[in-house]
Symmetry: D2
């Protein structure tokens, strides 16, 4: 089988680890470069003992140097870097003819001013924003296939957008009534030595954080507005809960007058009947993170409350899977014309 030469830039965090986990055994991938400033010279297996005995895990980490990456023969690079850092290396790789799937926030927004508002610094590469494709395969499949630069969505946005977008496209909701509450596993906060992420600080704990204006709101509202055809502003409250990975999101919104509840299920069915990775649980289905961890699935159930005329959307995904690494691989499969499920058949 012809394998695509692939680089992973910034591979020592949790997202990088998930990309390695998926790509080391992806039938169409050969990992030719993995970078990490802190781990230069160590093998993948040494840094992540879980990967010991995987074919390819004896590769050594290198510096995130674009020339070295290009010299590895990489045709495509996944970037698992902090926002603000990803843009420069993305440009350098593109200039060297390497396609880029960026998992940071740097290319998710169409508007550099919104980026500055939410990320507190000027956009590092505004000229590339027009070209970048927001990598939600269920929504932008054709554009992803043709892209050079893909911006994989954030974990929270994926869990909020996939249930909502079909309802907005069908104009089923009162747009100013949308409230999304998400609960995320601790890996979503990254692999960094920080007191607040210690086991004893997170275990037996649950709390909201980042209210009222979490950075992911920017891309959520951009995509909702795009589907609705008008500006949408929502409330989004993220919470941290003591699981390694997994996001469950509950979104409520008022149905427009006269919309029958069955229209909710119909809109979801129509949008995702042929989807490989969206699993519809139907009315009353309560999505559970335990069914999606370590997969690329998102489970979506819904309920309708006639007392309040609100729809309740319940979605679950793995924040590292469909919320990050899995979705990036799904984009990769599209980009290279592979089977949609190549390398993503884990249960």
């Amino acid at each position: 089988m012809n394998r695509i030469k692939t680089a992973i830039v910034g591979a020592s965090g949790y997202t990088g680890m998930e990309l390695l986990r998926l790509l080391l055994v992806h039938p169409n991938v050969e990992i030719v470069a993995a970078t990490s400033r802190q781990e230069v010279g160590k093998t993948l297996a040494a840094v992540f003992p879980r990967f010991c005995k995987a074919a390819g895990a004896e590769l050594a980490f290198i510096e995130p140097d674009p020339d070295a990456i290009a010299a590895s023969g990489a045709q495509v690079a996944f970037l698992a870097l902090p926002h603000g850092v990803a843009a420069d290396i993305a440009r350098a790789l593109l200039e060297r003819g390497i396609k880029v799937i960026d998992l940071s926030a740097d290319f998710r927004l169409r508007d550099a001013a919104v980026y500055q508002e939410f990320y507190d610094h000027p956009h590092p590469a505004p000229d590339l924003l027009d070209e970048a494709v927001y990598g939600l395969p269920e929504v932008r499949g054709p554009q992803i296939q043709a892209a050079r630069l893909i911006a994989a969505p954030g974990c929270y946005p994926t869990s909020i957008l996939l249930p909502l977008l079909p309802l907005l496209r069908e104009n089923l909701l009162e747009l100013n009534t949308i409230v999304a509450n998400s609960m995320s596993g601790v890996s979503g906060a990254g692999r960094k030595a920080d007191l607040s992420l210690l086991f004893c600080e997170c275990n037996e704990s649950a709390r909201a954080y980042g209210v009222p204006k979490h950075r992911h709101l920017s891309e959520i509202e951009q995509e909702l507005s795009h589907s609705a055809g008008e500006k949408v502003t929502i409330s989004f409250i993220p919470h941290l809960i003591p699981v390694n990975s997994g996001i469950v999101t509950t979104t409520t919104a008022t149905l427009r007058d006269g919309v029958p509840p069955a229209a909710i299920g119909a809109a979801l069915d129509q949008a995702y009947a042929d989807s490989a990775f969206v699993r519809l649980l139907g009315r009353g289905g309560c999505a559970d993170t335990k069914n999606v961890t370590r997969t690329n699935f998102i489970d979506i159930g819904w309920q309708y409350d006639p007392r309040t005329h609100r729809v309740i959307l319940m979605s679950a995904e793995d924040n590292l899977g469909k919320g990050a690494g899995g979705q990036a691989v799904q984009c990769f499969n599209l980009l290279f014309g592979l089977s949609p499920i190549a390398g993503l058949q884990n249960f």
Copy 2:
């Protein structure tokens, strides 16, 4: 010190265990009877090894027989029984001159028809509803002091009502915009042999359940409506998360036109400045369950989002503490004229 002779009826579940934990070392309490059909004849210490060497833990469980409880000399009984079962024994104890603090749902609602709607069976003692006092000490202190029959609130309602009631009394909110999302530890589901409550089913899992019409909605809306002076209908979505105990609730609502955000903080300050067990975290304070577990505190923070004109209320309590056993003891202290914090000084 003069100790009040106290019975605990239904003491082998998690709420019963919490009551025992608190009352065994309460300076003004002598436990004279503890009942459990399954554990008759065993000592408290045998059923709950944690209590071994506590003074009083050598007491043996008896049948939940009103005459036997009366014969123990009990002046007051805590009932930690399922709804539908509590009412009969409550009546029998009242007839024998024993005050009752009921932790079931049987006496929380003023309207037997609402009980039937939410609990799917006729109310077992509608004639007692007028007399029963909803045992939220921050709201009904004087009535609790004078009561014979106290209905301790549910765990979810406590976490939703305490932040909301002051805002409703001050008429700050658009009443039809209230959405409450709660996350609860697994002890809230009770101590029963059920596949869905196994460690491996709950660990590394998070999900909504009981939508759209959880039973606790009935008392939540009753109390909100009472404070608002008109009928209030809300959305309430409970979730199960993998912690032993603790509830964190996030409630959103739109401010009425012209209400300044500072009015939120002012309403909370005014309501709870002198409260022994409500801790106000102020604007931006994100309540965390880890700070309240095994205590009778509820922590309340809030935030305002000018983009949506919504207030975000964030509260945390222990579902077994302020949400059940602790609050019942707080009522007990009021009922017997004790220090508000007697037996509740745990950190």
Copy 3:
């Protein structure tokens, strides 16, 4: 690809679930039958929502009827049944020409009297014991390849035997000094509605159990004695810890006089240098369950303490993986001449 028609008997517990997880995506397997008395008529995906959208997950559970299993065309059956129950159906399937990989304890012991001593009932099929092969592929590869009836080892025994056997074969240890302490995830106790397995009973808890004569001792000592060439009796203390899956075992033993510590590493290297699933961590390597969960690997490290002249063996595996389902699939691969790692390439 020619797929082997495969049945899973008793597929609704945790071991059955793990077998399904592995076999649904095994490239050489077609699942033609799955049985569960409680779930007859439901699909695999309905009982285990995690498997929804897996090819084959729409298969419906049937009764564990040997004729029905034979009618499915099954060439081989995995049995994930309780001990005492497995033997009868194993015999019936063998009579119908179906090979059997039994994950119960029924065929692990060579001596029916030992079975009765440890399992408290007469062996249900003593005539089959001679034929059954103890399915530890690192030790009995050729016999497994030729077998009709394979007895997959217990989870604890696997974690204890693989580090110890090479040392016994080389005669490095004082045989009467072996002490094994194991810590197991809760899935090892099975998927049954039992108060002691509730989330709140297991979370934030750790304890020994089953001392001094856990049932797995019987097969551990049988295999140790076989390798040592004389009767070996050990101490084995299992513990339950709050993880879903994973076993870590620490085994101590005194080196025979004159044996140099380096002989330990040499014996392990020689035994497992070519092994696909044993990963040697070397001297000082502390095996961690988090590196092996959901894989078929066992990680083995060791240390030597000159103060006590003891070797310390530290092994980690997934109790459902290398300790049960993964190892059974490893046997299956041997039995059908497949690649050793077919269907087991998960990280």
Copy 4:
């Protein structure tokens, strides 16, 4: 009530937090000083929101300056500092007439050479070693009452020594056969920003560490030797498991020839019949951390295996409780002639 003016030096780690938790509500204590270099100027309640509304929690952290501590009027100081750091401040406080209960390792060993061997630096105050009393109240009650400088034992040692010492005193064991395996909650590793202590690194993980010569071995063997009347050398293997707190220890040893198993129970009974904090579970009792967390109890059960002639001792304590803060308070109660259980009546 006359309250003893008390200082806590190094109060921002997990042990310091536990000391605060106990001492803030101890009926005979007034906390007059709490130190933390990092948190100077913040109140106890600000650093630990759990303590908000506790009387005394508005005290502000100060620098660990002996003169400032003396100026606070402190009669006694608890030191929760790293080893090597504690000795200097202990000396300075003693010189100012303040009694010291040190929870570090600095004064646990009688022999400065052993300290250097295990802690890799010269002992910082060898002249004080003679005076220091090893603060195991069940063993050295009278000396503790009369001490000026108490060295509270380590968490692992407490869980190993209390079950073993009575057996050594009675000469029941073959001394060279003792093997102790301990599993500890993550708080035992301290409150420090370290990748290996992140939630995602510890959750769903179990592993040994620190073999073969953990620092606590030094005091364990010192105390065992003292009781045995001859040099005792043991194997000790600590493990990390995903719970916040709690240690369970399993110790095995061979009975001396001719010793009847009943002698084990008799020795334990005789040693601890009158003990306030040792709970004997008897033969077959498997100690569980969940029964002792947040208490000062140690639960001890035992079993005898006639096949190997080994005794199995199973003990459980809270590493922060009986293993650290609780035990230090127990020493404090002795030192000041208070009720043994003052401030330690939590369940």
